[in-house]
Amino acid sequence: MSASRRPIRLALADRGIDGVTLLVLPAALFVVLLFIHPFLYGLLLSFTPKEGGWLGNYTRFFSDPYMYGTIWLTLRIALPVTLLNIALSVPVAMQVRHMKHQRLLTTILVLPITLGTVLVAEGLLNYLGPQGWLNRTLMLVGLIDRPIRLVHNYWGVFISLMITGFPFTFLLTLSMISGIDPALEQAAATLGARARHRFRHIVLPLVLPGLAVTFCLAFVDAFSVFPSAMMLGAPAGETRVISFAAAQAAFEQYDYSYASAIAMIMAAVQFGFVGLVLMARGLFYTGPADGGKG
């Protein structure tokens, strides 16, 4: 009996499956049960609306301008913020990578991520308000003569997404740019390439694939903006984002089927953009960036 069992165990062990491998099971099962399963359940639920055929929730969403408009309103915030954050992250990371006290700066920048969107929104309500320090400083300097309105509108949400989003894209970009072997740039410098050309022909091609992934992560995050759109924006008007519409359907109308449909539409838009970006990423170079020293 043991003669017939041992070879199976050995054969499995050869393929990397033994007692140790099984340790991955509890965590994997947990994620399947509480992440994959709710997603599939939500997908099925979205096709069983309270009234109408199996596509009832989706036709309801796409025939109501107040509902399908949320996609555009959310994109209008999320896309510019993400692009701006990435455009700013690259030059800043290029300068900061040689900085001596890098850790102080990265620690300050990690604060808004740690504190979370709710606290940032509460802080900005004071800081950006008509009597806040920003408006006071701008008036003192003479840039404006009356307070500009920065809260309870589009710009409040935009600024809050910059405060939490920039540190995120910046820290990711910094870790990518620091991973490039300095010898590559030194070689180019020896051959007489100026900083601008070294960036254009060496650094940029190497970080572009990584930037594409950073864009995906940051965009998906910005597209699901929720607390700051409600606290700093105008949730009934120009910052009625799609996550708010989903939460409203679930907790004000108790229509979980419709809420699931909205969540699925939200996921579809996010995956759609990520898919497009990753397809474009296939066009860039994606090899090693460490100069091949291993």
Partner: protein, 276 residues
């Protein structure tokens, strides 16, 4: 040799960094100053300073209860995710098995999909089984991103341990259980502490999942803060800011300790160590 244009560019970039840092600090300072101020209308600073808002916020928002709930939830999340996350990370660091890339994707997805997107279907399932609205519902919901986070963060820490140490323990007859208890856990203490503290920070500041699954008696501090801001007008702004300061302290304590073990960049990315 730098040209004038390159120097100008450098100055511009640094000016932006300084501007950004000043804004972040000023935004946080505005909350702290307001929480200690008596009356703050049309002036640079409040008329006078007081600590009474902390007393009133503590009573008004029942902060002792809220803090207790917050740390019960965060504590449970952290312990459970370490218990199932570290062994999984060990298996992924040490074994190559068919389907391993798929398992990695499985652990990466909950970290990449934003909480509000999977939170709505997750809350629906938790309501169906009757867990939502209870403390366990909030714990389970918060475990969904925290378990994969622990797994992904622990893998490099485990890879750094020389497999020969484990082989030696095996030679002397240690089973997997004793290997963990007497060899791996002591060696992994810095990694486990870092993962635990960062998971703590994430759970205390996780708004979306807690908001979607919490009932009145299972609210954490962030959700209570959100509701009090949203129902503003009834409460004094200073009292809300006093609560915000208490919330900041409750997250930053763990961050300060965690930063002794990890680099700030590691909080968002897995950084490759430069070869020695």
């Amino acid at each position: 040799m730098e040209s004038a244009l390159e120097r100008l560019w450098r100055t511009l970039v640094w000016a932006f960094v300084i501007f950004l840092v000043i804004n972040v600090i000023a935004m946080i300072a505005a909350v702290v100053v307001n929480s200690f101020g008596t009356r703050w209308l049309s002036s640079w600073l409040p008329a006078a300073f007081t600590t009474r808002w902390y007393v009133s916020a503590w009573k008004e928002f029942q902060l002792s209860d809220v803090l207790l709930v917050t740390f019960q939830i965060a504590g449970s999340v952290v312990v459970i995710s370490a218990l199932i996350g570290v062994p999984a990370a060990y298996a992924l660091a040490r074994r190559d098995f068919p389907g391993k890339p798929l398992v990695m994707v499985l652990f990466l997805l909950p970290l990449l999909v934003p909480p509000i997107t999977f939170g709505v279907p997750l809350a629906t399932v938790l309501y169906k089984v009757g867990l939502a609205g209870t403390m366990w519902g909030v714990i389970v919901a918060n475990l969904v991103p925290t378990v994969p986070f622990t797994v992904i963060l622990m893998i490099p820490f485990i890879e750094q341990i020389d497999p020969k140490v484990e082989a030696a323990a095996r030679v002397f007859g240690a089973g997997t259980g004793r290997l963990f208890l007497h060899v791996l856990v002591p060696l992994l203490v810095p990694g486990i502490l870092a993962a635990t503290l960062l998971a703590m920070v994430r759970t205390v500041s996780m708004f979306e999942l807690t908001f979607l699954t919490a009932g009145p008696s299972s609210q954490t501090l962030v959700v209570a803060l959100f509701y009090s801001v949203f129902a503003a007008g009834v409460r004094a702004g200073q009292s809300i800011d006093a609560m915000a300061v208490i919330y900041m302290l409750s997250t930053l304590i763990w961050l300060v300790v965690a930063l002794r073990f990890v680099n700030p960049t590691q909080i968002v990315a897995r950084v490759k160590k430069a070869p020695a």
